[in-house]
Amino acid sequence: MLDRQQLHFEFSGRGGEYFKIWIVNTCLSIITLGIYSAWAKVRRNQYFYRHTQLAGASFDYHGDPKAILKGRIIAFVLFGSYSLLNHYNPVASLVVLLLILLILPWLLVRSLRFRLHNTSYRGLRFAFLGDVKHAFIDLMLLPLLSMLTLGLLWPFAQRRMIRYIRNQSAYGNVLFNFNVSIGRLYGIYGMVFLYMLFMFAGTFGVSYLCGSYLELPDKFAGQLISLSAMVAAMVTYLALLALFYSYVQARMQNLIWQHTLLGEHRFGADMKASKLLGILFSNLLLIVISLGFYKPYAEIRLARYRLEHIHLIANGNLDDFVTGIQGQVTAVGEEITDMFDFDVAL
């Protein structure tokens, strides 16, 4: 009996409601010199998780603020000693940096475990079972090696990264499964490359034509081609930063979810790059205009768009899951990776 259902993720958080929560928690974090920020983080995550619904049930977050605070203190000490040493003893700061890099795989595993173990849905916890050795190979070594090929082999490394994270993640006792043909990843980057080429050629042509109509000062005579190339390169670079980021984000998220399985259930996603770009851009503008106070509204808008464009294609009954094994974790890993802005997209 094949009973397929397309179930959409729904997000019911509201900007006005979240603003009130955010502002009070931010205020308390400042007054307590950052100590309360661990509790604020739990409140924030709980707000977003509990407002995320799938098939009539919501998610929940169970992170322990004290574990997060402990992680933040360790991260602060490591980061602080690095940046302090950097000012007057670069050699010693390099040693600290090396030490951080050395324990980074361990930190990443810890952070993934903490995040997943503390997420629940329908009373069952998620879990992460990956080990440090493979974290080192798949999350650090291969991405670094792919850089040596000028990024040409980056899609292979990226696929390994996503596979490592997804295939070791579980809900209850069922593992997630992710696999995708490498051509699909190259397809995304190939399109970006084509767009960029198109953009470069277009702006080059326009600026060359403009340059030949306008009478350039003698100083620039004979340099029209190199000047146009410079203008085109600059415009293309800015477009890469501003436009293609959301293109890659949207396409990548769609691709990842479309190729993720959970037992017999499949996921799907249909995010649009143009919509995402619109949200990111207007959020940015409003945050700047409001001196930062639009931020909680911006977070809600983005979360809503992201979540509501993911769905689950359920094959059979969602109720058939049973709990998996649960282990002990601390929050150290998650905090240090936060501080160093090394976020592993899940």
């Binding site: 407002h51 069952l124 940015l284 049973v322």
Partner: protein, 340 residues
Amino acid sequence: MSIFADYYDGVHAKKHKVTLRVYQGMLWLQNSDIERHEHLSKLTIPPALGGTARIILFSDGARCEVSDQDGFKQLFPQQAHSLIAKLEKNAWYSFSALIVIIVLAVAGYLWGLPYFAKVAAAKIPNAWQVKMDAQVLQQFDRLWFKTSLVPLVRQQHIEAKLKALVLPAGGILPQQLIFRNSKALGANAFALPGGSIVVLDGLVELSENDDDVIAVLAHELGHVQAHHALRQMLQTSVIGIAMVWYVGDVSNFLVALPAAVLENRYSREFERNADDFAARLLTNNAISSLRLAEMLEKLEQAHTPPELQKDFMKPPLFDYLSTHPNTAERVKALRAGSGQ
């Protein structure tokens, strides 16, 4: 009374619609298939969060979700008052929090951070400062500096004159006076974080006599007295961290401009203080502070390409992006101070 709830047993993902009742210090939960009762003291009830369902956690991992907020309050009256939930709910508290954040941010920026940087800068041991300057100088020597072409006699002359200055009580001389040549940086002099002063050949060439150089050095000495470079370094790193923490996850690119605007205000204040110090020091040593005013004008001319020596760099908006106060303004202040 009884209320409806969704119950999950923590072992299966199945949702059970149940009714809840509190009776004799116990929570009773039941529907046609399940029946469970638990002592209230063994339950965890997290504080309310916005309009989300209320949650009851059992010690074995099972949970109840109650979307009927009012019913929940009646069933668990003692759980109705969580301090954080109350603060998060009331618009007056949000408004107060908003005001507190704005006041603290402004006060921290105007007084708090400068104060702590001042205290911290005074506490940094001398040995560190010397080491820091050596490091900075090494970097600059590699990237920008060449050996000075100013005759050694002149260098010694200037240094002797600097050392002969009568300083105000508690005043200190620079750790070191360093002469260097740099095409890229042109006519310039600056104080390093540890208290050494670097003089570039361009500045010496621009001067008509030693007093002109001493006038500029007096300004740099103002920076050295008050550890301006060190304080600026501390302040900018705090502002940088705060901005990355706040805006960083939106866009790293966007952090740079507002951070620069905030940091430059500190820098302009230090420049004004150094000017004031220099004016007093020069007057005390029978050198007119007009020497500094004239040198500032010459320096500005030397650093502005002829085609840009027009008015469009003048509007006040440009001043916010500048590390130094408007030269005309500084010269005016120095002229006013010298009584001419």
